[in-house]
């Protein structure tokens, strides 16, 4: 396809991650409509966060999807066809403040506890739970995706028991709306 001048735009086939904000009617079944669309069209969801907004009738879905430009164009156009979708904003080129939260339960003995706590401090994380008898500790870290990834990477030398992570949420800096 990439050699064909008539093919749809494919942005050199690069698989970028795109963050989109989807404002939807706050009604039952809307998430199902959106996720069903992603499944049916073979679009990938790297991350999804659904939340309330300043308007009680509107919910916000912050979706990270991976694909080339043609893929992103189809995702946005198909989402737009859903009646309950009010607006979609593509933040690929925007100056975004974005956050994810991770909670990580690690095996922490008397010997390595302080080392783990130090590491958390480096990432401005917090110890939110400590059970000395059961030798576990839960750490919370908030930040952009890269920071969370780096934190998890540095924790990998310890024994991670379980981990949970939210989808990405984001707002555009300045007056421009998200």
């Amino acid at each position: 396809m990439s050699n064909n001048p008539h093919s749809v735009k494919n942005g050199n086939g690069s698989l970028r991650k795109h963050t989109i904000s989807v404002l939807v009617e706050n009604k039952p079944g809307v998430l199902a409509r959106v996720s069903s669309l992603f499944a049916r069209r073979g679009f990938n969801i790297a991350s999804l966060a659904v939340s309330s907004t300043e308007d009680s009738e509107i919910s916000r879905m912050t979706i990270v999807t991976q694909g080339d430009e043609g893929h992103l164009e189809q995702v946005i156009k198909q989402l737009n066809k859903l009646i309950d979708v009010i607006t979609i904003l593509d933040h690929t080129e925007d100056d975004l403040i974005s956050r994810e939260v991770a909670l990580v339960k690690v095996h922490a003995t008397v010997d390595n506890r302080s080392e783990i706590m130090q590491l958390a401090t480096v990432f401005r994380g917090e110890v939110v739970s400590l059970s000395p008898r059961e030798e576990t500790m839960i750490l919370e870290v908030t930040g952009e995706e890269d920071k969370i990834e780096a934190f998890l990477e540095s924790l990998s030398k310890f024994k991670v028991i379980e981990m949970v992570r939210t989808g990405k949420i984001a707002l555009v800096r300045g007056k421009r709306m998200t």
């Binding site: 396809m1 050699n3 064909n4 008539h6 093919s7 749809v8 735009k9 939807v24 009617e25 079944g29 199902a32 409509r33 069903s36 669309l37 049916r40 043609g70 164009e73 189809q74 156009k77 198909q78 737009n80 066809k81 859903l82 009646i83 309950d84 979708v85 009010i86």
Partner: protein, 560 residues
């Protein structure tokens, strides 16, 4: 007034005259509302299978331009509608499907005849509603008709829990209009886009129009004719676009694509500008996308933005209603003549017309030529899916939109008979013919009962080759003639079957019997007539561009 009565009152306000369906437990309140004296303007047609109800509503909608309405009970009634809903979404047919549902207090408990029809149909509807209060009903029905009939038309489901159907409304207020902030329909073409398009048209040496169902749904055929005459461009139509441009026009190239004419596909290959109107570059049209219209720039006029640049990049994209775009484009372009291009196209038409082998036996193409002749090309034609469908599209001359009703996108065998009846309900004074195959017909033959009971006589030309002919053709061509699951054998006796329903049955085996059988069929005006045409199963549909290939691999009717 209860919820069910509010549904019926809302249907009346929408001008609904016919609804097609079958009742059942959860639909009882709706059906009770349909026998109230206030519902006397709505004819409630009891069919024999819910899928047929959906196809009937489709035939009704496609032949009239109005929204078709079907109704079914919960559970199996609702799931039986699914294929019809899927058919209507792929062929952009305005349809409102109303289903009964179990009471809200038991939804989600696997109650008797419960199915999550909202969930099941989510990927195949334009939208769906399930009221949680009877007071929501008038707004929802108004919104359902608005969504179904505007923009790119499509199906809308309204799922009615039984307790909501039975609950009383505070007050029935029918809204004048509905405002949906997530649903905006662009109808008007932007003048900047029209200017860019006109520039391409004025520069083109070999323009070609590629026209589909979107032109039919916007009734833009007169605007199309005006543009064609102004710029002297040939026109090819998709299967769904047959009739949007008259076959009688010298610049009409009939259908393009897999079973399109050689001259249409050659014109696509050689054109330098492809003006695509209300089409979606479907794979049955394009074959190998990289080699489709390889020398052409594209102007794509399309109401659905998701279709623009989906399969083929368009140099100029006009997101608008085809009628508006055509009017404006007509005014913006300079009159043009393309004598060489015209000459070339006419020469191809003459050199490589549609043809078949005439050997004295009964040929399916001959049946269609006779049918065209005896009906003067004026009948409404519906089809099922397969070889007979392609021959009907190729050989019957269509000269007006909404004359040819066929299942294009989904390719639903069984569409034809209910669609023919739907068309007859909408157009009782017109002659309606169903062209079907012995495989397809058996998927909804029970609707012969509906045609008899409601006195909606249609003519049925049954193309009987005792096989699933198109599948057999692929097994002949690509699977070494290994026939697997395609032999239907000579069962049933269709003449007797027709007679069992009180219809007239005729059997035809020879070419000379075709005309008298059709004459007889046309003399009968109080009953449906079925003509069972038996012909050689070896007959194949030509031309054919095998799946995924291009015009260079087109196979023509072999010369003997």
């Amino acid at each position: 007034m209860n919820g069910a009565e509010a549904v019926v009152e809302s249907l009346k306000r929408e001008g609904v005259k016919h609804i097609f369906g079958i009742s059942g437990g959860a639909a009882l309140p709706l059906y009770d509302a349909l026998v109230q004296p206030t519902a006397k303007d709505i004819t409630n047609i009891l069919v024999r299978h819910e899928q047929a109800a959906a196809h009937m509503a489709e035939g009704y909608a496609r032949s009239s331009g109005r929204v078709g309405v079907c109704i079914a009970t919960s559970g199996p009634g609702a799931t039986n509608l699914v294929t019809g809903i899927a058919d209507s979404v792929l062929d952009s047919t305005p349809l409102v499907a109303i289903t009964g549902q179990v009471a809200t207090r038991v939804i989600g408990t696997d109650a008797f005849q419960e199915s999550d029809i909202i969930g099941i149909t989510m990927p195949i509807v334009k939208h769906s509603f399930q009221p949680r209060s009877p007071d929501e009903i008038p707004w929802m029905i108004k919104a359902a008709f608005h969504i179904a009939s505007t923009g790119r038309p499509g199906p809308v489901l309204v799922d009615m829990p039984k307790d909501i159907s039975e609950a009383k409304l505070k007050e029935f207020i029918y809204p004048e209009e509905v405002h949906l902030r997530g649903y905006k329909v662009t109808r008007e073409a932007a003048s900047a886009d029209i200017e860019k398009a006109a520039e391409l048209v004025d520069k083109a040496k070999k323009p070609l129009l590629y026209v589909g169902g979107g032109l039919v749904s916007t009734d833009a055929h007169n605007e199309l004719l005006a543009l064609v005459d102004k710029i002297e461009a040939p026109v090819t139509t998709t299967l769904m676009g047959r009739g949007a441009f008259p076959d009688s026009h010298p610049m009409c190239l009939n259908m393009l694509g897999m079973h399109g004419t050689a001259y249409a596909n050659w014109a696509v290959r050689d054109c330098d500008l492809l003006i695509a109107l209300g089409v979606r570059f479907d794979d049955r049209v394009t074959g190998n996308l990289a080699r489709f219209a390889p020398n052409a720039k594209v102007i794509h006029v399309e109401i659905d933005p998701a279709e623009i640049h989906k399969n083929r990049y368009a140099e100029v994209a006009i997101q608008a209603d085809a009628k508006d775009a055509l009017k404006k484009l007509h005014d913006a372009v300079k009159p043009a003549k393309h004598p060489e291009w015209r000459q070339q196209v006419l020469q191809w038409k003459e050199e490589q017309p549609l043809r078949y082998k005439k050997d004295g036996t009964l040929k399916p193409q001959y049946i269609l030529q006779e049918l065209a002749d005896i009906t003067r090309g004026e009948a409404i034609l519906t089809t099922d899916v397969g070889q007979h469908q392609m021959w009907a599209a190729q050989y019957y001359p269509f000269n007006r939109p909404r004359q040819f009703l066929t299942s294009g996108g989904l390719g639903t065998m069984g569409f034809g008979l209910p669609a023919a009846l739907g068309a007859k309900f909408a157009n009782p004074d017109q002659e309606v013919w169903l062209v079907s195959g012995d495989g397809s017909f058996q998927m909804h033959l029970q609707e012969l009962a509906t045609s008899m009971i409601y006195q909606k006589p249609v003519k049925i030309a049954l193309f009987n080759n005792q096989h699933l002919g198109m599948v057999k053709q692929w097994q002949d061509m690509f699977y070494g003639e290994r026939y697997s699951g395609v032999q239907l054998k000579n069962v049933p006796n269709f003449k007797k079957l027709a007679e069992a329903y009180g219809a007239v049955g005729i059997t035809v085996n020879k070419p000379e019997e075709v005309r008298p059988a059709m004459e007889k069929a046309r003399e009968v005006d109080d009953r449906t007539v079925l003509i069972d045409f038996h012909y050689d199963p070896k007959e194949h549909v030509y031309p054919m561009i095998p799946s995924g290939m291009s015009v260079d691999e087109m196979r023509l009717q072999p010369d003997e």
